[in-house]
């Protein structure tokens, strides 16, 4: 196999050049005469608001969409990329935010999938596994070729995707929001790998909404706004403020300093909860917590410590092994989402595409998903179309969901706008308890601020808000109280106004004595 360094050709010719790319969808111009290029050995970041057209541009490159106008050159030669297979043949790889791995197959099988075997019709897994080990060694990507995909964590799956791309020897790799699902440590590890990948002369395209990551990893940054390229700058010339200004078209303040919540009667109380995880192991082990009306409680912690199982148990999607969950006056024992909702719960799930929306339903239908029985929207079982549309119109403008119309299928929205849609729906009732998993994952910085403000408003209206987030900055900004989850229990609690990030970070790593227990909170830490 040749190293990619051998292919980048004539001096000065970029690896990739996209010129005047236009891509229209019904009702939107997703890319409007965009110029974009990637040089060999660089990491070029695409930055911009939700729906600015970043994923679309990369899908054009990967042969998933055909551009309406424009030209693509690879190594200086004009090409027409007609399919992902075609893109891969030309040395272009892409890692989607939602991975495309077959859950029931092993790592080696997934990597071999779609590749020609050297043994004709027979599979060649031995050789594939060996090559995977080689690559894993070179790039220090800890992956076992024999592991079955469904057993792997998100971070591990991402490494498999990277191995797959390396195995196919791509010279240009696109990573669409790779860090959205990673823990800070995994992000650091990923960045080391990415740097190493560029050393061979590869070019990388990186997409992220987190400005510090963008400033950290990029060589150049291109900002898209409403489908247009509004500037390509050197990372060294970039700053937080500059990027934000380019992104939204004017200077805005991003830091908000919400007031502290007051707290009232207890609305959600979890006692000695035990929940089994997907892999059969107990993921939540004797957890107790309380959330009161008018406060925002954040659950910090490295993902995989039982947060998902906890939230699914509260939402009634997963039956606990033992323990109790009280929501308002209702005791939720058997898993039943309808009961939880009836007791006043609103829930923003982590798995948006699976749980949060019906992808083939329109925006309006998705906004109606929860309240379709409500008097306001149905009379005698018949849907009140006019009232529904008015309500939906209000929601999408209130939450700035960017969509061509109410009748656009949800699957055609950009990732961040799908999240905003779910937020709009869940906050629209007046929930007693609001449970939000990863509220701003994949959300641009402007919208993040807006969502935080809405959460605070909700709190001030007397809702008990529980947030599960891996983003420590987010937790520090909006929470009145922080609980740190580690190996299925609350290992400690902290006050974001008193304790430092470092102290909370220690707790997240399982170092228990890092923060002295706060007065008046004996019940939160579990035995």
């Amino acid at each position: 196999m040749t190293t990619p360094a051998a292919s980048p050709s004539r001096e000065g010719v970029p690896l990739l050049q996209m010129m005047g790319i236009t891509k229209r969808f019904p009702g939107v111009v997703a890319n409007d005469r965009v110029d974009f290029d990637v040089r060999s050995g660089e990491i070029h970041t695409l930055f911009g608001e939700n729906g600015a057209g970043k994923s679309t541009l990369m899908r054009v490159l990967y042969g998933l969409y055909r551009p309406d106008e424009g030209e693509i050159q690879v190594n200086g030669a004009k090409v027409a990329i007609t399919s992902p297979a075609d893109a891969i043949r030309r040395g272009i790889g892409m890692i989607h935010q939602h991975f495309m791995l077959v859950d029931t197959l092993s790592v080696a099988e997934n990597v071999a999938l779609g590749e020609k075997s050297q043994r004709g019709p027979l599979t060649d897994l031995g050789r594939v596994s060996e090559r995977i080990r080689e690559l894993a060694d070179t790039y220090r990507l800890n992956v076992d070729p024999q592991a079955i995909i469904w057993q792997l964590s998100v971070g591990e799956r991402q490494r498999v995707e990277i191995i797959k791309a390396l195995y196919r020897n791509v010279s240009l790799l696109v990573l669409d929001e790779p860090t959205a699902v990673l823990t800070p440590r995994e992000v650091d590890e990923l960045f080391v790998v990415l740097r190493q990948m560029t050393e061979g002369g590869r070019g990388l395209v990186f997409i992220s909404h987190k400005i510090h990551e963008v400033l950290d990893i990029s060589d150049r940054i291109t900002v898209l706004r409403a489908g247009r390229n509004v500037g390509t700058i050197q990372s060294s010339e970039a700053s937080r403020a500059r990027l934000v200004e380019l992104m939204v078209g004017r200077a805005v303040a991003l830091e908000s300093q919400p007031s502290k919540g007051t707290g009232g009667e207890v609305r959600l109380s979890v006692k000695d909860l035990h929940v089994k995880g997907d892999r059969g192991i107990e993921a939540v082990r004797g957890l107790s917590l309380e959330v009161s009306a008018g406060e925002i409680v954040g659950i910090a912690g490295v993902s995989g410590n039982g947060q998902r199982e906890l939230s699914e148990a509260i939402a009634g999607l997963r039956t606990p092994l033992s323990g109790s969950i009280r929501l308002g006056d209702a005791e939720l024992s058997a898993a039943n989402p309808a009961d939880a909702r009836a007791a006043g719960l609103a829930y923003v799930p982590e798995e948006r595409m699976r749980d949060g929306v019906v992808p083939f339903f329109t925006v309006a239908q998705n906004l109606l998903l929860v309240e379709n029985r409500s008097r306001d929207y149905s009379r005698l079982g018949f849907l009140r179309t006019r009232a529904i549309r008015r309500h939906c119109q209000e929601l999408i403008s209130a939450f700035d969901v960017r969509t061509p119309s109410l009748d656009t299928p949800a699957r055609n929205l950009s990732g961040g706008n799908i999240q905003k849609l779910i937020m709009a729906r869940e906050l629209s009732g007046s929930p007693q308890v609001l449970l939000v998993a990863q509220p701003t994952r994949g959300i641009d910085v402007g919208a993040t601020r807006y969502i935080h403000e809405r959460l605070v408003v909700q709190r001030d209206d007397g809702t008990a808000v529980l947030i599960i987030s891996e983003d420590l900055d987010e937790i520090m900004t909006i929470c009145d109280r922080v609980l740190v989850m580690y190996e299925g229990t609350i290992i400690g609690s902290a006050d974001p106004r008193v304790n430092t990030r470092e102290e909370i970070g220690m707790l997240m790593a399982g170092v228990k004595s890092a923060v002295p227990p706060l007065a008046g909170e004996p019940a939160t830490a579990s035995p």
């Binding site: 399919s83 949060g356 929306v357 998903l369 379709n372 699957r411």
Partner: protein, 395 residues
């Protein structure tokens, strides 16, 4: 390729897509009829005579139209039932069994209440038919919803069970003992009470009340699916069980109910077969399709032909009814074997399904956007298309 020729190519593709989507049905009909003509030629018959007889027999004059409508009515009800179940992502192959159960339940009701007036008896027998079919649809529905039993297998098995029950009842407990046949009893009921016969709406035709009922039900089901919150939940459950559950919908109950309604439609069709018949008895011949005339399967074709939309299904049922009625006339006029007519119907089905397949392919290739966003966890294709049912996998 220059930019210009690319544009032309795309435009042509769009044109082709348009052609395929609007003319797929007529085209497939024409193609099937052409092939049928070749077959007739091979059999030494004149295809022009044959098709002339078919069209005259099915559509010429009020009597022919009436017969076609009567033949179409049960097909329409079955097809509408298929549509409901399909929206909940359940594929109801159990029409045959549900028809039989509907026929039995309604016949038994009529036989048990010989003295009621029409105004009471007809609604009662129709309801009984619907109830019989509903029960036979609820079983596989509940099994699917609560125990994840594949509905295609369970409905096919229940078809066999239903036919056995029917054959036993019609040859035994419910048989007309007054008939004097030297070769043993025909498996049929007594003449049903006159008050239960579906009244003829237009004199000198066969057009009976059942046709009107079928059309009204089809429109009603359209309203149910697209205009009510229950229909909204059926669609949501059909497209994503996970998201529906998360939203607090009673997923399992909704699936079971959708299958129950689907069965009820088929059961109602069974009642029409009995009370709209010329003999006014429930009759079978001991074979699997003796009572139903395969309407439980033909209804699936009608539903697919009608794009799984209850309103289009009205038209598609009428056309298919015409094919069946005219097919008899064709056979009489040309003397080709009856199998030839069956083959012709089969050809139409094959052509419709393959054209629909081509339509989908052309759509996906010229606009990859539709495919590319499909994530592994989603259904592969929008529910609107015809051949999706077998492509959808079950979680």
């Amino acid at each position: 390729m220059s930019r210009f020729s690319v544009a032309v190519g795309e435009a042509w593709k769009d044109r082709r897509r348009l052609l395929l989507s609007w003319f797929a049905l007529p085209l497939s009909l024409v193609a099937a009829l052409l092939l049928g003509a070749i077959m007739m030629l091979a059999l030494g018959a004149n295809p022009i005579t044959g098709y002339n007889a078919l069209i005259v027999g099915a559509f010429d004059g009020s009597y022919a139209l009436g017969s076609t409508a009567v033949r179409a009515a049960p097909l329409l009800l079955v097809a509408v039932g298929i549509c409901v179940a399909f929206r909940a992502n359940v594929f109801n192959i159990g029409g045959e069994g549900q028809l039989a159960m509907g026929g039995l339940a309604s016949s038994a009701t009529a036989l048990a209440l010989p003295n009621l007036p029409s105004i009471e008896l007809i609604p009662l027998v129709l309801l009984a038919g619907a109830a019989g079919g509903a029960a036979w649809g609820a079983i596989p529905g509940a099994f699917k919803a609560y125990f994840n039993v594949n509905e295609i297998l369970s409905t096919i098995m229940l078809n066999l069970v239903a036919v056995q029950i029917m054959n036993w009842l019609l040859a035994g407990p419910m048989v007309d003992k007054t008939q004097n046949s030297t070769y043993g009893l025909i498996p049929e009921t007594r003449l049903l009470p006159r008050a239960s016969w579906l009244p003829i709406l237009i004199p000198n035709t066969q057009l009976h009340l059942g046709v009107l009922i079928a059309v009204v039900v089809a429109v009603g089901v359209w309203v149910l699916i697209y205009r009510t919150s229950f229909g909204f939940r059926i669609q949501a459950v059909g497209l994503s069980r996970d998201a529906s559950r998360y939203a607090g919908m009673p997923v399992k109950r909704t699936m079971t109910l959708a299958m129950t309604i689907s069965g009820a439609m088929c059961g109602l069709a069974g009642a029409l077969l009995v009370f709209g018949s010329i003999s006014h008895r429930m009759v079978t011949d001991g074979s699997l399709t003796g009572f139903t005339g395969s309407d439980g399967f033909n209804g699936i074709v009608v539903a697919l032909f009608g794009a799984l939309n209850p309103l289009w299904t009205i038209i598609s049922a009428f056309l298919f009814g015409g094919l069946l009625v005219g097919g008899d006339a064709l056979q009489v006029a040309t003397g080709v074997p009856a199998d030839m007519v069956t083959a012709l119907e089969g050809l139409v089905v094959v052509f419709v399904v393959s054209l629909e397949y081509m339509r989908r392919r052309s759509r996906t290739t010229s606009s990859p956007s539709r495919r590319s966003r499909a994530r592994p966890t989603e259904p592969v294709a929008p529910a609107e298309s015809l051949v999706t049912a077998d492509e959808r996998s079950d979680p």
